[in-house]
């Protein structure tokens, strides 16, 4: 019989035994009665002969029992009984732990899903992002963190590489879908051949786009995302082979990608082939994001070396048109810095997540010290019992085991409830978390999270359990002694453990408070930055694209945009309107290049890169971007194709010394372009977020002679309309905006409708998320710390009643006695703060990248927080210390 089935068949054995024994006794009684003994006597005699039935039963049962487990079961039963007897205590402990463990599990789940879990592609370790740096391109770093790939680079890399299985480039885009329901703007991923091969996820239904779909002269097929397929086509499997109208062009659906598939981290509706033409491509056009799959066994350094070689090949094989120097880009020092794709996906969020994880971990530690404190108090009250048990022969290990088992049980109970807390916490986290948190959709409680919870529960159980064990299971003699000292003063030694806990709590709480205050100051500093637009909550923004297939002629396009502006301006409550190729912090990337300034020869023939934006008349007024000097564009400038431009204040100062002196000066983008006159200078705009520098920007009219080469008229077709209205953000206004657009052309879809406040908030999301998390953690830490101080002082007061009584009898003043306790609390706080300040000074450096406008050792924070903490500690100790006044000396002494 296996031990397990034996374990479970035990009850049957026990029954058998009882029946046998009962029958045995009964037969003996019968026999005695036959020998003429009265029944009651016979019964007594039979039982006496038989001996101790219970003992016998136990002995017999032991045969079936696994000794260790059995006593464990008994211990657990006792623990359960004890906890049930003081439900308030048990619930407090379990809830404290559940909140601590739950919060940790929730944050760990996010951390695990975002940072630790591999990307959901086959062999994800082979995937790299083709990140290029161009340290020799001045100014680029102001607005771009990398040099994107040009189409010619892609062709070179794809054909000549020696280290990749496949290479592809892609970029996010939009397209209007017409002919299904209302015209709809969808997010597209424009992909080159090689992207699907690199990511290597098979189509859910239908097939991948093929090289044939890349033909630049014929519109290729498209693929749907699973979500879009469900949303628009109800998951109809017959959709493959159907034709839909994408930007007014008929396109055949080749297939559907499976649920959850993203291009890197980008969630698209439609995959559209790029249709690059190798005949027309030039060196320039650094617009695409590159990804590649490494050959097995190839590392990043090898691949970097290969790409460095490929960049030479690229310059040797392409030009920027006749007469240009194809090796001009040597001065940019283009250097490959390939990243594992996961790093590219996760980006800078990892600092935030680790900081939050560490913070929550510290809260857990504080919670553990509080629980340890409570257990210590409880173990104190059990001293008698423990001493008696020890005197009766319970071993040191036996008592230690029971104490530990109790804390482990509490830890595990906390863990079980904690999983529930984590589920709720996760929902909260994903709700308050930055909306642009990468891999947000992948966040879930998985096996790792559960394992983490289990380990955390056990470790914390051991941690807070170890302290009472160390105090109460040292030796038998001591225990007996402790039992004898019922009313004497043993506070000093017993208090020491608790004091240590308070010191560490204060230290940890101080670190978290300093972190939280630094984040608050960062947030305030960011709020104080003038972002380059005003009152974002009354600025409504929407994106609208007029595709070339809908309106071929650029002039007609601008007329249509102008028309829409007029219709929008006519909506009640709208005070002004305008449009631009990009609004700040929206992530739109219009264009950038160098400019040549009249009368200036650039040193080293390597002028800095400038960010370009293309705007309509009235845009600056609408956005609230102040015109520092000169005037705004006019419609006459636009339609008259006058050679005019505007620059940002920082650019004006850099080139001409002051905004005023910039007016009337001339510049152009390249030699064959006529000189453009600076007609206005606008304030600096924080294009990439308030914590980033304002790039030097050149503003062009949205239509010009030169956008796509001299002599050709060009207009910016995908633009953000800005509408200043006190009704911004209301559904009524949005509906009226949509009607206004459709009254101009019924095939125009509107996309990305939001207020500037949303965009602004999103750009602050990382900071506000860190702030909220740290603030919650610090508040919990402060509350727990204060509770700790309160608890220790109030316990000390109750323990030292006799001493207080004697002191009072000898004439001590009540206020002096209270001060005695407050002083000891302040001592503990002081030591804790010294430790905490040292730790904070070291730890806050790790947060440097999250801070803005203040130093990690901000003196204001490092003074204000300790002062506040001392005040809190004084209050927390004064309240219980006041109770000394209530001590009646006579009564305190009589208790002896």
């Amino acid at each position: 019989m296996s031990p397990f089935s034996r374990f479970f068949s035990r009850n049957r054995r026990y029954d058998d035994l009882s029946v046998s024994i009962q029958e045995h006794i009964d037969e003996r009684i019968d026999e005695l009665m036959e020998a003429a003994m009265p029944r009651d006597q016979a019964e007594r005699a039979a039982r006496r002969e038989f001996g101790n039935v219970t003992l016998l039963r136990e002995r017999s049962r032991e045969v079936w029992q696994w000794q260790g487990l059995e006593s464990l079961r008994v211990d657990l039963k006792h623990i359960g009984r004890r906890l049930r007897r003081s439900p308030g205590f048990a619930i407090t402990l379990v809830l404290t732990l559940a909140i601590g463990i739950g919060a940790n599990t929730a944050v760990f789940s996010v951390l695990n899903s975002v940072l630790l879990r591999p990307l959901p592609y086959p062999e994800p370790q082979q995937l790299v992002s083709l990140h290029l740096d161009a340290p020799g391109a001045p100014g680029l770093a102001e607005f771009r963190s990398e040099l994107r790939l040009s189409a010619s680079m892609y062709f070179t890399f794809a054909t000549h590489n020696r280290t990749f299985q496949s290479v592809g480039v892609w970029g996010p885009g939009t397209a209007s879908i017409t002919g299904i329901a209302q015209p709809e703007q969808v997010n597209t991923a424009q992909i080159s051949s090689g992207v699907l091969e690199t990511l290597n996820i098979p189509a859910f239904t239908g097939q991948w786009l093929t090289a044939a779909d890349q033909d630049p002269h014929a519109p290729g097929r498209v693929m749907l995302s699973y979500g879009y397929w469900q949303r628009r086509f109800g998951g109809d499997p017959g959709v493959v082979g159907r034709t839909i109208s994408v930007n007014s062009q008929p396109r055949v659906i080749a297939g559907v990608m499976p649920r959850g598939f993203k291009v890197v981290s980008y969630d698209f509706d439609l995959l559209v082939p790029m249709g690059l033409d190798p005949v027309k491509e030039q060196l320039a056009g650094f617009a695409y994001r590159g990804i590649a799959r490494l050959e097995p066994g190839v590392g990043i350094p090898q691949a970097n070396a290969d790409v460095a070689r490929l960049i030479q090949v690229w310059m040797d094989s392409w030009t920027n048109g006749p007469g240009s120097d194809s090796h001009w880009y040597v001065r940019w020092k283009i250097t490959p810095a390939l990243l594992p794709l996961k790093e590219a996906v996760v980006g800078s969020i990892h600092t935030v997540l680790w900081v939050v994880m560490a913070t929550i971990g510290v809260v857990m530690l504080i919670a553990c010290t509080n629980v340890a404190n409570l257990l210590l108090v409880r173990a104190d009250t059990r001293q008698q019992e423990l001493a008696v048990r020890s005197a009766l022969g319970a071993g040191r290990w036996r008592i230690a085991r029971e104490l530990l088992l109790e804390s482990l049980t509490l830890g595990l109970l906390g863990g079980v409830v904690g999983v529930g807390v984590a589920g709720a916490g996760l929902r909260l986290l994903t709700a308050v978390g930055p909306g642009n948190l990468p891999r947000l959709s992948e966040v879930s409680l998985d096996g790792w999270s559960v394992a983490f919870t289990l380990i955390l529960s056990l470790v914390s159980g051991l941690l807070f359990g170890a302290i009472p064990v160390l105090r109460y299971a040292p030796s038998r003699q001591r225990l007996t002694l402790l039992g004898a000292m019922r009313t004497s003063n043993v506070s000093r030694e017993r208090q020491r453990g608790r004091n240590l806990l308070v010191v560490s709590q204060v230290a940890m709480a101080l670190v978290l408070l300093i972190g939280a205050v630094l984040m608050i100051r960062t947030f305030l500093a960011m709020r104080n930055v003038d972002p380059g637009f005003s009152d974002p909550s009354s600025l409504q923004v929407m994106r609208l694209t007029i595709s070339e297939t809908l309106v071929r002629d650029p002039l007609t396009t601008v007329h249509m945009q102008n028309n829409i502006l007029d219709k929008l301006a006519a909506i009640p409550g709208v005070s002004s309107t305008g449009f631009a190729a990009s609004v700040p912090m929206s992530g739109a990337e219009p264009s950038w290049n160098e400019i040549l300034v009249e009368g200036k020869i650039e040193e080293g023939d390597n002028p800095p890169m400038r960010l370009f934006n293309y705007v309509s008349p009235g845009y600056f007024h609408t956005a609230g971007t102040k015109i520092v000097a000169g005037r705004d564009f006019s419609w006459a400038d636009m339609y008259g194709l006058r050679p005019v431009g505007m620059v940002s204040e920082s650019l004006a100062r850099e080139l001409w010394g002051s905004p005023q002196s910039a007016i009337g000066k001339h510049f152009h983008e390249w030699d064959s372009m006529p000189w453009q006159e600076v007609i206005g200078v606008v304030q600096d705009v924080r294009e990439n977020g308030v914590d980033q520098v304002s790039p030097s920007t050149v503003y062009w009219p949205s239509m010009g002679h030169d956008l796509f080469g001299p002599g050709v008229l060009g207009a910016w077709r995908s633009v953000y309309f800005a509408i200043r209205s006190n009704r911004a953000g209301t559904q009524a206004l949005i509906n009226e905006m949509q009607q206004a657009v459709w009254s101009v052309n019924a095939n125009l879809p509107v996309a990305d409708i939001s207020t500037m406040q949303d965009i602004y908030g999103e750009s602050m999301a990382r900071t506000s998320f860190t702030l909220v998390m740290l603030a919650i953690a610090a508040t919990m830490a402060l509350a727990l710390g204060i509770l700790g101080i309160y608890g220790v002082i109030s316990y000390a007061v109750s323990q030292r009643r006799r001493e207080i009584g004697i002191r009072m009898a000898l004439g001590a003043k009540k206020s002096e006695l209270a001060w005695m306790f407050v002083r000891s609390a302040l001592m503990l706080t002081g030591i804790g703060m010294a430790v905490g300040l040292g730790a904070a000074a070291m730890l806050m450096r790790l947060m440097r990248t999250l801070l803005f406008g203040i130093s990690p050792l901000d003196p204001v924070t490092f003074t204000a927080v300790p002062v506040a903490l001392v005040a809190a500690a004084a209050l927390a100790s004064y309240l219980p210390a006041r109770r000394t006044a209530a001590v009646d000396p006579v009564e305190a002494l009589r208790a002896e």
């Binding site: 029946v19 046998s20 029958e23 002969e49 016998l56 049962r61 045969v63």
Partner: protein, 90 residues
């Protein structure tokens, strides 16, 4: 045979020379059950009360035989040693 009958049986057969203590009988029975030497089933005692009947299994029988053999050997050993001692005394 059930417990009480077993005690009686041993007492009678050994002419009251051997008395099995209840205190050791039941734990012993349980050990033998656990080792698979016995099997038990629900049954009725001679007096018509429900009880458990213990019966030797095949393994139990084998074990008994080997125990008997070793006991006899040991007994023979005792007999020889005692005989030798007597011879010396004589």
């Amino acid at each position: 045979m059930h417990g009480y009958a077993l005690v009686k049986h041993i007492q009678q057969v050994s002419n009251d020379l051997l008395q099995v203590e209840e205190g050791s009988l039941y734990p012993a029975l349980q050990r033998m059950l656990k080792e698979g030497l016995l099997e038990s089933e629900a049954g009725i005692s001679a007096k018509g009360r429900p009880t458990r009947i213990y019966r030797l299994t095949a393994a139990g029988l084998r074990h008994l035989e080997s125990e008997v053999v070793s006991f006899e050997r040991m007994f023979a050993g005792f007999a020889r040693v005692l005989a030798a001692a007597k011879a010396q005394e004589a």
